[in-house]
Structure formats: structure tokens, C-alpha cells
């Protein structure tokens, strides 16, 4: 039958696929949050990656700083998710909403959020130090099927990310506020005419995206580490996924996230982990040259 080497290779490939799927699912979570904000407000949030850290750090404070143990991770999520929502909502209302009344506000929002990103990075450095932080796995142990070994952690990351996306999708299509978010994205003037409070929808959308990326932060900091700088890398990844999928297209973002997650895992396996980011940029350049509207974007 197969030689021992071939079987070993198969195991390795399975590992790569699992890593790609779990990474891809978290990227999907983050890209969907990013594309949602872009689709609704048409403005770009450069501090997006730093909300990834924020989620991770909030969880870290709860678990290690305060010794919080109530209901394990579920308790952590119950506290951190509303907190992320509140932070996102408040930031939108205080910093972005006032800009929206001015001319050329999309560019001003970009500059402002870029400044916010720098501020948050420095804030994290002062508060948490530059050393890496990691969270305990959400579910320890492994699932063994024959010779194949799956970490429960990977499975949980995959399930929770897809669950988060599914919940968002359900909300968008089945709740009044979700329909209002879609209405603003599809026709802001029409939304205003029927009496949808656009300002509140903008703030809520921003807050929801903050929750999604913060959730991603909690999930990925169990497997990797966070430091004050990791927001930058996450920002780049979320941006490449969004651009590759097509700005404003949620489905495009989903496909793109898994393709990029897989690509990263594969490149990491063949060439080494540090080549992942190079592959990412090659993909970005190729996208911009050959298909600037992205996989499923609507026009250039």
C-alpha cells in the first residue's frame, strides 16, 4: 500500500488543512465585520486591527488580571462582547459621527482611525508591556480518529467563528435593525426617507464590527500570541481578505477568507511561516492588477 513516508505526508497535509480552516474561519469573521462597515458607511476603519487586540486584552485582564472563572469562556464572552460593542458605539459617536458632517469625510475618517490605531498601540504598550500574551485554550485536549489528531481548540475556533458569522447573517436578514443596516447599505437616501435613523445605524454597524473583530481576537490569541503591535498584521490581513473578496461583499469576504487561510497554512508549511505575509502581498498585488473589484465586488 502506502509507504510510511506517504502516510506521514498525508498527516501533515491534514494538519495544514485544519490550520487553514481554523485560520480561515477567523479571517472570515474579521473580514465580514470589516466589509459590513465599509458597505454601510463607505468609510474605512484603520484601527480595525487594534480592536482585535482589545478583545484579546479584555479577555486576558478578566482571566489573568481578575482571576475570572465564572462559566469559563462563556462568561468571558458574555462580558467582553457587550464591552466591545459599547466601546465601538461610543467611539463612533464621539469621533467619527462629528466628522461625517464635513466635506470629504471619508478621508478624514481614515486619517482619524489611523491616529486612533497609533494611540491604541501605544496605550497597549504602556498598559500591558511589549511582551506577548496568550490566552488558555477554550477547550483542551485532542480528538483522535485512527491516526488523525484534531485539537479541540481548532474545532472550537472553527465552530465559533462560523457561528458568529451565521448569527450576524441571521440578524441581518431577520431583525428590524438588520434590515435597516442593509437598507442603509443599499440606498442611504431611501433609508432616510422611510425614517431609518441613519446615525444610529452607522454607530451600531461600527459597534457590531468591533464585536466581530474582538471576538476574532479572543479566538486567535489562544492559538497565537498578541502583543501591542499585532493589530497591524491583523489589519493588513483583514484588508487583503476584504479587497480580495470584493469591498462590501459579505459572501466574497467569506470565500476570500478561506482561500487566504488555506494559502497561508500551505505557504507556511512549504516555505516557513514568515513567508505567509509575502504570499499575502503577492495575492493583493495580483488582485489589484487583474481583478480590482475583487472576487465578488460590484464593479471597479
Amino acid at each position: 500500500m502506502f509507504s510510511e513516508d506517504t502516510i506521514l505526508l498525508l498527516y501533515e497535509i491534514t494538519d495544514v488543512i485544519i490550520a487553514g480552516l481554523s485560520m480561515g474561519s477567523v479571517y472570515a469573521l474579521m473580514a465580514v465585520g470589516m466589509t459590513l462597515v465599509y458597505g454601510v458607511t463607505k468609510a474605512f476603519n484603520f484601527a480595525y486591527g487594534d480592536f482585535f487586540n482589545m478583545g484579546g486584552y479584555f479577555a486576558w485582564i478578566l482571566i489573568f488580571g481578575l482571576g475570572f472563572q465564572f462559566m469559563g469562556y462563556l462568561g468571558v464572552l458574555i462580558i467582553v462582547m457587550p464591552l466591545m460593542f459599547a466601546v465601538g458605539y461610543a467611539l463612533e459617536k464621539l469621533m467619527i459621527a462629528p466628522l461625517r458632517k464635513r466635506e470629504d469625510w471619508e478621508n478624514k475618517v481614515m486619517m482619524l482611525t489611523l491616529g486612533l490605531a497609533l494611540f491604541l498601540t501605544s496605550l497597549y504598550t504602556v498598559v500591558f508591556g511589549v511582551r506577548m500574551k496568550s490566552l488558555p485554550p477554550i477547550w483542551e485536549g485532542t480528538l483522535e480518529i485512527g491516526q488523525l489528531v484534531f485539537a479541540y481548540q481548532d474545532i472550537m475556533i472553527f465552530v465559533l467563528s462560523l457561528g458568529g458569522i451565521g448569527l450576524l447573517g441571521w440578524m441581518l436578514n431577520n431583525t428590524r435593525i438588520g434590515m435597516a443596516v442593509q437598507a442603509v447599505a443599499q440606498n442611504p437616501v431611501g433609508a432616510k426617507i422611510v425614517g431609518i435613523p441613519k446615525e444610529r445605524i452607522f454607530a451600531s454597524t461600527f459597534a457590531i464590527s468591533t464585536v466581530m473583530v474582538g471576538f476574532g481576537g479572543i479566538l486567535l490569541s489562544q492559538k497565537y500570541f498578541i502583543n501591542p503591535m499585532s493589530g497591524g498584521t491583523i489589519m493588513i490581513k483583514a484588508w487583503v481578505v476584504t479587497a480580495f473578496g470584493g469591498m462590501g461583499s459579505i459572501r466574497g469576504g467569506l470565500y476570500a477568507a478561506f482561500i487566504i487561510g488555506m494559502m497561508e497554512a500551505l505557504v507556511g508549511w512549504v516555505f516557513g511561516l514568515s513567508y505567509g505575509i509575502i504570499a499575502l502581498f503577492i495575492l493583493l498585488i495580483a488582485t489589484l492588477v487583474f481583478r480590482p473589484q475583487g472576487l465578488m465586488g460590484k464593479g471597479g
Binding site: A180, A183, Q186, N187, V189, G190, K192, I193, V194, G195
Partner: protein
């Protein structure tokens, strides 16, 4: 003759509106009584739409006084104005293109005061526009011009408004559809709604209108009831096309 007290639904006084540097409305005064159909005629680009948009909170730079049911609404946010029962029905429809007819209609009932009436109003607009019933699962972007116009009016009615500001409902429609939409507006008015309608130059409009205003260069140049309008040579020639 008995004196019948009729409420002034809408009163606009000294309204000025600006788009940046350009002064679009100049000291406009309009009033609409409960149950009336008032038609605002005038050439294109002379401020008729801006008047409707100003009333509904869709123009940022306005001065003057707009009262609705004796309450000042000048400068109020659109969502609050809609909640008071005033709705703008846009000339370019402003539908949600990637949503179905039914979803568009349901979003029409977004205002807090419209929600309890959503079911009843849905039945009502399906009665008024039977064509929308067949198309309720169809995406708004795939509808023909006439159907999209019907949907825009129907979505406006879903807001449970008492006062409808309808912007050129006949624009780009063939005569038969034009006739259909006017007769529907007539019916809506019979059911107790008050209508302020903007049109360019439509012969049939006198059948619908209780009173007529003409707006030229951002000012009201004529005001009168149907007979006065028909007796006015200039008006007959230019705006009523007779």
C-alpha cells in the same frame, strides 16, 4: 352657510432653502388643509422638489417656519418627521434594489408609529396595488419603471402617514399608467389622506387637484383653486397644456 372648521395640516411660512451657494427657495408660503389634494406645478429645476424635501427634513440648509398639525418641524430629523405622519415619496423612487418588494414595503413601516399598523397597511396597499401582490418576492431592481413607481408610493403608504408629499409620480410613465397612478392617489385622498403633489405640466392634473400652486424660480407665482387655475390664460397654456 355653515362654517366648517378644517384643520390646517401643513403651513409653510418664509421658507428659504439653499444648496451650498445657490438660493433655491425664496420666502415660500404654502398651506394645506386636512383632506386636500394640493398640486404644485412649475418648470423643472425651479424648486418644487426642494420644497417637498425641505418639509420632510431632507434639506440641510433651510430657514423659515414649517408647522405640521400646528407643531413646528423646521430642522427636525427626518425619522422624527416620518414618525409624526409626514412622508416623502421620491421622484426617483429611492427603493432598496437588492431587496424584494415585500421587504421594501416592510421597511416602509420602520417608523415607531407605523409598526403596530404594519399588517393592516400591508393588506391595504396590496388592495390598492394588486400588481405588487404577484411580485412580492421579486427584487426591486428587476421591476419596470411603472411598477417601481407603484412600489415607491406603496412603501410611502406603509409609513401610516396622514400627509403624503409625492414628487412627480407620473414622471416617465406612459399615459395609461399615469392615469392609473392618479386614480390611486384620488382613492388615497378619499380614504382621508392629505396630499401635496408636485408635477411639471400635466393636463389631467385638474381632475385631481383641489388647489394649485405654481412655483417659478423658487417663488410662488400663483395660488388658487381649480377654477381660478383654469381661468388663468398663462397657466392654462404653460402648465396645463390646454
Amino acid at each position: 352657510m355653515p362654517v366648517i372648521w378644517v384643520m390646517i395640516m401643513l403651513s409653510v411660512r418664509n421658507l428659504n432653502a439653499y444648496y451650498g451657494e445657490s438660493h433655491v427657495l425664496r420666502d415660500v408660503a404654502v398651506s394645506v388643509k386636512q383632506g386636500e389634494v394640493v398640486v404644485m406645478l412649475g418648470p423643472n429645476g425651479h424648486g418644487k422638489s426642494t420644497l417637498l424635501k425641505s418639509i420632510c427634513g431632507l434639506v440641510d440648509q433651510i430657514t423659515g417656519r414649517i408647522n405640521y398639525k400646528e407643531e413646528p418641524i423646521t430642522g427636525m430629523a427626518t425619522e422624527n418627521i416620518v414618525n409624526l405622519g409626514l412622508i416623502y415619496i421620491a421622484e426617483n423612487r429611492e427603493l432598496f434594489p437588492h431587496m424584494t418588494v415585500l421587504e421594501n414595503l416592510k421597511l416602509g413601516a420602520y417608523a415607531k408609529n407605523a409598526r403596530p399598523h404594519e399588517k393592516g397597511n400591508l393588506e391595504w396597499v396590496f388592495d390598492l396595488f394588486p400588481r405588487l401582490v404577484e411580485r412580492r418576492k421579486q427584487l426591486a431592481s428587476t421591476m419596470s419603471g411603472g411598477e417601481a413607481r407603484m412600489l415607491a408610493v406603496a412603501r410611502g403608504l406603509m409609513s401610516n402617514a396622514d400627509f403624503l408629499c409625492i414628487d412627480e409620480p407620473s414622471l416617465g410613465l406612459q399615459p395609461s399608467l399615469r392615469h392609473e397612478i392618479f386614480s390611486i392617489i384620488k382613492q388615497i385622498s378619499k380614504e382621508g389622506k392629505t396630499v401635496l403633489l408636485v408635477e411639471q405640466n400635466i393636463p389631467q392634473i385638474t381632475e385631481l387637484a383641489d388647489r394649485i400652486y405654481v412655483m417659478e424660480e423658487g417663488q410662488i407665482s400663483f395660488e388658487g383653486d381649480k377654477d381660478e387655475a383654469l381661468g388663468n390664460e398663462h397657466l392654462r397654456e404653460i402648465f396645463l397644456g390646454m
